[in-house]
């Protein structure tokens, strides 16, 4: 009886999807779903208007689990299947009554997060959730003050799960986002947010006391991925906003649009990326002291070490990688306490996902490289907005082997624009399919794109 009801529910949703205009998706095959791609690549839009798609997981059977930040018929996880192999989603089964961003599959379980908790669902041999109404709650009580609230997740191969707990502020000011408001000294947010927390992937009801603060000084990491080649966690940070709004005498609107970099970091236990005390300047290629802490756009982290100012002491206390024997070698000390990014990208493009590609479908240059979904900027105004694309960074031996490049573009619609609400689609999640195709989600219309390569 239960199976019958389930089947009927699925059927209803798939019929509703057809009725809501999904037929238009079928014709998209010829124009790569409106995307601009490198030669040899094609894209289809598998689905649209089903929830507000954030992150995505693809099963070995090629079926999709999409986490939605808006409930779709009251459900926040959408299991989508393409039954006849034409690349278009035919059925949608919704479960989970919570919104959120994180979703991934590991060791026979589907993991998913709300903005405060992390759940997991046991999968059967076809990677279908056995009991969608009774997940295991593995993490709870994570702080949510509605800013940077996405609790994105990634798992390693040793039974650990890593959770982004985004800082609930822009720059840890006494008054958030306020003209000339100084930074709080030290920044109290860092004790429970502004970093990555590590928990066990199989223990129930864990909270802060059960986990460890794995890495700190990281403002908001919506995109993170475990790199199986280097066996380390890679993250993409959303850099701080409003340098001009809050410090107009130091930064004009053009400078504010280009600073700070969006940054990729390779993290280890004890890593410290320096937020809120510094930001990374992609033009000077330096960590620069934030204006909230006395910076002027020029004074670097190395200058702070030389002057031995108060920020240095705070960072020393926070960092677990500081070696006292290096005190004479200032540069070594500076890098050890607060690390440099692995890659620096243009400001404000809003990286929402990172995926290390391990498939064989794409040409050799893409193997073990990183795809990044850039959601697109808002804080570049009054300059034109930027991002709204999927970028690629080639890697060799665990390190970037070339500059970043645009891989998939025109999600927003193609022409230059000034307001994010004009963007038709905004890349948000990335996943690799069993055949090596790349899946990209969009949280404007909930579209799911499948990008493939043919020689």
């Amino acid at each position: 009886m239960k199976n019958f009801l389930l089947y009927a529910f699925c059927l209803n949703i798939s019929l509703a999807a057809c009725a809501s205009g999904n037929d238009g998706v079928k014709k998209a095959a010829d124009d790569n779903a409106g995307l601009k791609l490198p030669a040899g690549f094609t894209a289809i839009k598998m689905s649209e208007n089903i929830g507000r798609a954030r992150h995505i997981a693809v099963t070995a059977q090629g079926n999709l689990y999409v986490k939605s930040s808006r409930l779709y018929n009251g459900k926040g996880i959408l299991y989508m299947k393409d039954l006849n192999g034409d690349g278009i989603v035919d059925t949608v089964f919704g479960f989970g009554k919570y919104t959120g961003t994180g979703i991934t599959i590991k060791n026979g379980y589907l993991y998913a997060s709300s903005d405060e908790e992390v759940f997991r669902y046991k999968l059967n041999e076809k990677n279908e959730v056995i009991n969608p109404d009774q997940p295991e709650k593995i993490i709870t009580g994570l702080i949510n003050r509605h800013q940077h609230e996405s609790k994105s997740i990634a798992l390693d191969n040793e039974g650990n799960i890593y959770v982004n707990i985004g800082a609930y502020a822009n720059a840890c000011q006494e008054k958030d986002r306020t003209l000339h408001s100084k930074g709080r000294m030290p920044c109290p947010i860092l004790d429970s947010a502004g970093g990555i927390w590590q928990f066990k992937a199989d223990k129930l009801n864990q909270t802060y006391g059960d986990g460890i603060r794995y890495a700190t000084g990281l403002r908001n990491l919506v995109g993170l991925d475990w790199n199986t080649q280097t066996n380390t966690l890679f993250v993409m940070q959303h850099g701080r906003d409003q340098l001009h709004d809050n410090w107009p005498e130091l930064f004009d609107t053009k400078q504010s649009a280009e600073l700070p970099a969006e940054t990729m970091y390779e993290l280890h236990k004890g890593s410290n990326a320096g937020w809120p005390y510094i930001y990374y300047d992609p033009i000077q290629h330096k960590k620069i002291l934030a204006p909230e802490y006395g910076g002027d756009g020029k004074k670097s982290w190395e200058d702070c070490i030389r002057e031995n100012n108060g920020i240095v002491n705070i960072s020393f206390k926070a960092s677990q990688n500081y070696l006292i024997n290096d005190i004479d070698d200032r540069k070594k000390v500076a890098d050890k306490m607060i690390q440099d990014p692995t890659v620096a990208f243009p400001a404000h493009m809003a990286p929402n996902a990172i995926l290390f590609y391990t498939g064989d479908q794409f040409p050799e240059k893409y193997k073990n490289g990183a795809f990044i979904a850039f959601h697109g900027s808002w804080n570049r105004a009054p300059e034109p907005q930027k991002g709204y694309l999927v970028a690629f960074v080639p890697f060799k031996n665990g390190k970037p082997s070339g500059d970043w490049e645009i891989f998939a573009d025109d999600f927003a619609g193609g022409d230059e624009f000034m307001s994010p609400n004009k963007a038709k689609h905004r890349p948000t999640g990335l996943a690799q399919g069993p055949d090596g195709s790349l899946y990209v989600t969009d949280d404007v219309k909930g579209a799911v794109y499948k990008i493939s390569y043919k020689k």
Binding site: Q147, H148, S181, W378, A381, P382, P420, V444
Partner: protein
């Protein structure tokens, strides 16, 4: 006849002066908007999906004036729905703006982005500023 003419003359002059004063307020308000509000609420008043609310034809902007005056004065850090959507970013309190600037920018906002509403006056702003919460 002369009396009617005089009455009409005074009424039309008053309307003209009011329109000019409204335009002057909006021009000043636009400058405030571009300097202080645009970076978050955007040049078209459309805001940023899920982060910064729009100012275009929402009940907050078109409704009771004291509500938006209060928000400009005190900022917004609560998680409240605006036309059935939630917006994650905090808004700063604008202690950097005086009564005239707030009146002007809100008059501009209430008559731009597809909005049509009454002007906000200095007296309106003063009333909210001095009200004990």
């Amino acid at each position: 006849m002369k009396k009617t003419f005089l009455v009409l003359f005074f009424i039309s002059t008053a309307l003209l002066l009011k329109a000019q004063s409204l335009k002057a307020s909006m021009d000043r308000g636009q400058k405030v908007y571009e300097k202080v509000c645009l970076s978050c609420h955007m040049a078209d008043g459309g805001g940023v999906p899920h982060l910064n609310p729009p100012l275009s034809q929402t009940s907050y902007v078109l409704g009771d004036k004291s509500k938006i005056i209060y928000i400009v004065l005190h900022g917004m850090t609560d998680r409240i729905p605006i036309e059935d959507e939630y917006y994650s970013n905090n808004m700063a309190a604008h202690t950097d703006l005086n009564d005239q600037q707030i009146a002007d920018v809100l008059t501009y906002v209430r008559n731009s982005f597809g909005n049509k509403a009454t002007a906000v006056t200095v007296a309106d702003v003063k009333a909210v500023r001095t009200k004990k919460k």
